[in-house]
């Protein structure tokens, strides 16, 4: 069994890469490996949006990531610097910045880039999906 980490740079519904990453993560767990961490960086932070509302006949990406967390304990880490710039704020960041609503909820977590470095060092494999 190997520990996998994914680094996702691509926004949902703009490029195939977010779907490719989800499909790969599902394959990782289906083959008995551990899908340990998904780190959302660059435009990939939009995958964590709690406000995402795709048409019903399309894959709901945020739900796909949440399912991995619920069923396999996958950490869903969103880069705080990349996220705040692009409007991904949890309740405490929204309050800190004095904005009315938040757009990111658990199990997604806002974290620093240090967590990406940590994921790289503590996983057996790090696979990047980019637009």
């Amino acid at each position: 069994m190997l520990n996998y980490a994914l680094l996702l740079h691509a926004a949902p519904y703009s490029h195939q890469a977010a779907l490719s990453a989800l499909r790969f993560a599902d394959t990782v767990v289906a083959n008995g490996h551990r899908m340990k961490t998904i780190f959302f960086y660059h435009d990939g932070v939009h995958n964590a949006s709690a406000l995402m509302a795709p048409p019903q006949d399309e894959v709901h990406l945020a739900d796909g990531w949440k399912r991995l967390h619920q069923e396999h304990g996958t950490e869903l880490l969103v880069c705080v610097a990349a996220g705040l710039r692009r409007g991904l704020l949890d309740v405490s960041e929204a309050s800190r910045h004095g904005v009315m609503s938040h757009s990111l909820e658990a199990p997604f977590e806002l974290t620093g880039v240090g967590q990406l470095v940590d994921a790289m060092l503590t996983s057996d494999r790090m696979i990047t999906f980019a637009p």
Binding site: Q16, A17, S20, R23, F24, T27, V28, M126, T128, A130
Partner: protein, 96 residues
């Protein structure tokens, strides 16, 4: 031994050049997403630097209508094959 993931159409020549500069003699290239178009015989020159150590992802090929247009030198792998390549190659880098 390194696995290189590439997702750009062969018309993105600068990206293909960057991969070829970093591609070692034991390395392997996996074409995914729009890089599937490079698996056609008509795109042959794009894959020359990779010495036949090239695979392409079946699901992405089929979706693009390319299933019957694959050059015989390129190996077709499914998602389990993609995962297997990441198992056998300790390191994986992505070019985009």
């Amino acid at each position: 031994m390194m696995l290189h993931l590439l997702n750009r159409s062969p018309r993105s020549t600068a990206t293909y050049q960057d991969v070829s500069e970093a591609f070692g003699s034991d390395d392997h290239l996996l074409l995914i997403e729009d890089a599937c178009y490079a698996a056609q015989p008509s795109a042959g020159a794009a894959l020359e630097p990779f010495g036949g150590r090239v695979s392409v992802l079946q699901e992405d090929l089929v979706a693009r209508g390319l299933a019957k247009r694959v050059d015989p030198s390129v190996e077709v792998v499914d998602m389990n094959g993609f995962l297997a390549l990441t198992e056998t190659h300790e390191r994986c880098v992505s070019w985009f």
